[in-house]
């Protein structure tokens, strides 16, 4: 934390931009805090110095440099499997959504009317008939006269 009022001047001096360099140096000689700060700035600069190195391209290397760029530009692009998989995934998702929507909205079939599929009787001589009406079918059995007499 900066406590001494000269510290900003020390920073400008460190960057070589302060007009009153002797004044700052005189203050740093007396102020332990600013002296320590200046030392810290110098250590930091030494630490980052390797990062500031900018590799230049020599004239001799320039042809190879441009050839490399040209090669990258002119080489045909290989098929991207990432894009293919994304497309497959998208199509699969669309199909699944379509199936889900179809399944939800088609629902069960409409209920048909009551239907008589088969009829029979074990009563000898009896006949059976099916009559259809709006309110549903009627199965009519007509027992033989003898059976009716037996029952009654």
């Amino acid at each position: 934390m900066k406590t001494c009022g000269w510290m900003e001047k020390v920073e400008v001096y460190f960057d070589g931009e302060h007009g009153d360099a002797p004044g700052v140096e005189a203050h740093v000689a007396q102020c332990h805090e600013c002296a320590a700060y200046l030392k810290q700035l110098q250590v930091l600069r030494q630490g980052v110095a390797p990062l500031r190195e900018v590799r230049g391209i020599e004239d001799a290397q320039f042809g190879a440099f441009m050839a490399g760029i040209r090669e990258e530009i002119e080489t045909p692009v290989r098929a991207s499997f990432g894009g293919l998989w994304a497309m497959v995934s998208l199509v699969a998702a669309a199909l699944i959504v379509a199936l889900a929507v179809f399944s939800m909205f088609t629902g069960p079939q409409p209920v048909k009317a009551t239907e008589v599929k088969s009829i029979s009787t074990d009563l000898p001589g009896a006949t059976i008939d099916v009559k259809s009406a709006d309110d549903g079918p009627t199965i009519v059995i007509t027992p033989s006269q003898r059976y009716q007499e037996d029952i009654q």
Binding site: L90, A93, V111, T114, P137, Q152
Partner: protein, 165 residues
């Protein structure tokens, strides 16, 4: 860790939707049994000017009205009887007749596929005879009439059968 792309997220949502919809659609309705109601009525022609219906037959009055009888007496009414699929459920009507229900399955369209038998005995000790055997597809809410069963006391018996599920 593989990042979740929008496609993968959409796929998972879609699969979840599909699963939910299939589960909802595939739920068995009324799973193991089905409920039936049965009205057994003695129908006679007594020369009345206006048709008369015994108490308890209000629900089937409109179904009985077109029949060529003028008097309808209650023999047996059994409502909301549960009947297990693939099993016989016997509804005793009187000492002469019994209705046997054997639901097979619920069709995709909601109808109940069932076998029915009307058993009759000339005497209480005699073995039952199938007066009627039928396989029907019964629409819930619709009524099936079985007509023409002779009664010892005269007239004939009409059976009205319905399912509410």
């Amino acid at each position: 860790m593989t990042p979740r792309t929008p496609c993968r997220i959409h796929s998972r949502c879609a699969m979840a939707l599909l699963g939910i919809s299939l589960v909802l659609r595939g739920l068995p309705a009324g799973a193991e049994s089905v409920s039936f109601s049965m009205w057994a009525v003695q129908a006679t022609q007594e020369g009345k000017t206006e048709k008369s219906y015994a108490a308890g037959l209000e629900e089937v009055k409109s179904v009985l009205a077109p029949l060529p009888f003028d008097t309808f007496e209650k023999i047996s009414i059994q409502k909301g009887v549960p009947a297990a699929y693939e099993d016989d459920t016997r509804l005793k009507i009187d000492s002469t007749y019994a209705l046997v229900l054997h639901p097979q399955a619920k069709e995709d369209d909601g109808r109940i596929r069932l076998d029915i038998r009307v058993e009759t005995r000339k005497k209480p000790t005699a073995p039952p005879v199938n007066a009627l055997s039928a396989t029907i597809l019964l629409k819930p809410g619709e009524k099936l009439k079985l007509q023409g069963f002779s009664l010892p006391s005269g007239g004939e018996m009409v059976i009205v059968l319905a399912t509410s599920t």
